[in-house]
């Protein structure tokens, strides 16, 4: 496995995303420019220029026509992916920490920071699209609704859409995870899953369960309907991101010690590695080294054939898995397969 290093950013990466077909990689960093790359060879297709501050988050819609970025300059920008033109800019009250398209691409959620007297919210903005071409024909400037931070909760750090855009799941700075109706913004449920800030929420490919990562060094696989913890992955360092791999039953966790402690320890002790855990057995099954700062985000392509990690060191490392990754199986999996094969043979003979 030979990683491709993408060195397009001058400052630490904040988010890395694949599009639906996995052929493009979108990256944003603390410098003011977001980039889009071809995943096959790491060639940069272009940059989205226009923000005045750190871009905290980026997302791309299902048809790879539009990208959205949320920035610390109090704005959300909608871009055309094909030529990098800025289609629309929403002004917000506070910095935007996370943006995401709903699966249908007709709504955008934005996590607004709770600063300057604002309570912090998850706001949902609406787009009107042409039914045929999926082109955006109209943009609603005012948010559809704001989910203000509730009493007894700290502000939300991250949020994500569930299957079909039916629910919004938000991860809070105090480790709580809350669930809201995706159409009205009504509160549905909440659970205390972590003891420290939730740093990332990423959904499974089918949108029925998700993985949370937290600064308390644990990642949890959570059912979307019940908010019940299905699996827990314990590590030895604060986590910044976690994702669920399609194709294979793994999860990838990324993290490392706080950025402020990095200069005081060697990169070996910093634990700046992507960790692979088996999703079902919860064992750590491998690590990938390479970054010399904490991993701020890990993303896996929807095909499950490659993954990218963005680090505090300003690099994106794009890995295409090789054969050994796809061949790996637990002994129990192998024996189960052999048994199944034998049964098939027997039934064929009978």
């Amino acid at each position: 496995m030979r990683p491709i290093l993408l060195k397009g950013h001058e400052r630490s990466l904040t988010q890395v995303k694949f599009n639906r077909e996995g052929d493009l990689v979108f990256t944003c960093a603390k410098d003011n420019v977001a980039s889009v790359w071809y995943s096959i060879n790491g060639e940069r297709l272009g940059t989205f220029e226009g923000h005045q501050g750190t871009i905290w988050s980026i997302d791309v819609d299902q048809s790879t026509q539009y990208a959205v970025t949320g920035s610390a300059d109090f704005s959300i920008k909608l871009w055309k992916v094909e030529d990098g033109t800025n289609v629309f800019t929403w002004k917000t009250k506070t910095p935007v920490r996370r943006v995401e398209f709903s699966p249908a691409g007709d709504r955008i959620l934005a996590v607004l920071d709770g600063v300057m007297g604002y309570a912090g919210s998850v706001s949902v903005y609406e787009l009107k699209r042409d039914a045929q071409t999926q082109e955006v024909v109209d943009v609603v400037e005012q948010p559809l609704f704001d989910i203000l931070t509730r009493e007894g909760f700290e502000i939300a750090a991250v949020a994500a859409w569930s299957f079909g855009g039916n629910y919004i799941v938000a991860g809070h700075k105090d480790g709580k995870v809350s669930k809201y109706d995706g159409h009205t913004g009504d509160f549905v449920d909440a659970a205390e899953l972590h003891t420290q800030s939730v740093s990332d929420i990423q959904f499974s490919p089918d949108g029925t369960y998700f993985i949370t990562s937290s600064r308390d060094s644990a990642a949890r696989l959570v059912d979307m309907e019940t908010l019940e913890v299905l699996k827990t992955y314990e590590t030895d360092c604060p986590l910044n991101s976690a994702c669920i791999t399609p194709l294979k039953q793994f999860v990838i966790l990324g993290g490392g010690q706080d950025a402020k402690d990095v200069t005081t320890t060697s990169s070996r002790e910093g634990k700046f590695e992507a960790r692979f855990y088996h999703k079902i057995f919860q064992d750590e099954i491998g690590r990938v080294k390479g970054h010399f700062g904490p991993l701020n985000y890990v993303a896996v392509s929807p095909q499950g054939t490659s993954y990218a990690s963005g680090g505090e060191d300003g690099f994106v490392r794009l890995h295409h898995f090789d054969k050994s990754y796809f061949d790996f199986k637990y002994d129990v999996e192998k024996s189960a397969e052999a048994q199944k094969h034998m049964q098939e043979l027997e039934s064929a003979a009978a």
Partner: protein
Amino acid sequence: MSEVSVPPTQVLENPDGTKTVVSYRVENGKKLRVTQKVREIKVTEKVNKSVASRKHWKKFGAEANSAPGPDYSTTQLGEELLLRLGTSWKKLEEEEEQKAKEAKGGEKLITCRTCGGNHYTMHCPFKDTLGDASAAAASSAAADPAVESEAAAGALETGSIIGGKYVPPSRRAGARDPSSNNNFDAYRDQRERDDAKTLKIMQLNENADENTLRYELLFPFGRIPKVVVVRNRETGRSRGIAYVTFETEEIAETALNFLNGRGFMNLILNADWSKPKVKE
């Protein structure tokens, strides 16, 4: 010339799926028959329509004026990584580390001049008993020039000071002169590839990358520490040459016999030592 009639080209279908093309031409007044055996292979690659259309998008933003293909300033290939999946990966890694440590310890970073042990001379536990003996040997050597060479040889084992005089490493017995041309190892960079174990494989298919070579061509030869495909720096296209380093010279030799003249991905390979062997 034109009066020499040329029979039309014949195409024969062979039972094994190949075609035999027999064509005639006239050259210098001689009629020549050319027989070619051709096998047609159709390679289909399925690409998503939208992905294919995105491949032709024009670059924009900071990349608006850049040439097609990855730009070396923003895109680089990292070092080869080994993702070893398994529940016992931690154990394996620890073992490897231990081995590396042992190998380092085997070189003996510190050597005692008195007893040759792995500690400083001043901390030698045999200082009192052995220290006098070596000093006596040195003094006796100085007194009797006839046994000097013998004493020097003895002193070599214990250290580099003969009769209280420092002898530079290049002057010591058994040292090689770095300025002479007949030893290549003297100032050799450890990172350089070991030509004794490295083959140069030419006439490779352009589509064969390192992984393809590893898994489809070189898998019978055990662990392959290094495969490098020579590429065009600008376009990243393979130039059809690869350097492959094997574990041992013997494996490299069997690989050479096996690979030279063998067909791989429709081309006949040409393998050779990466540098011609010096005849002894």
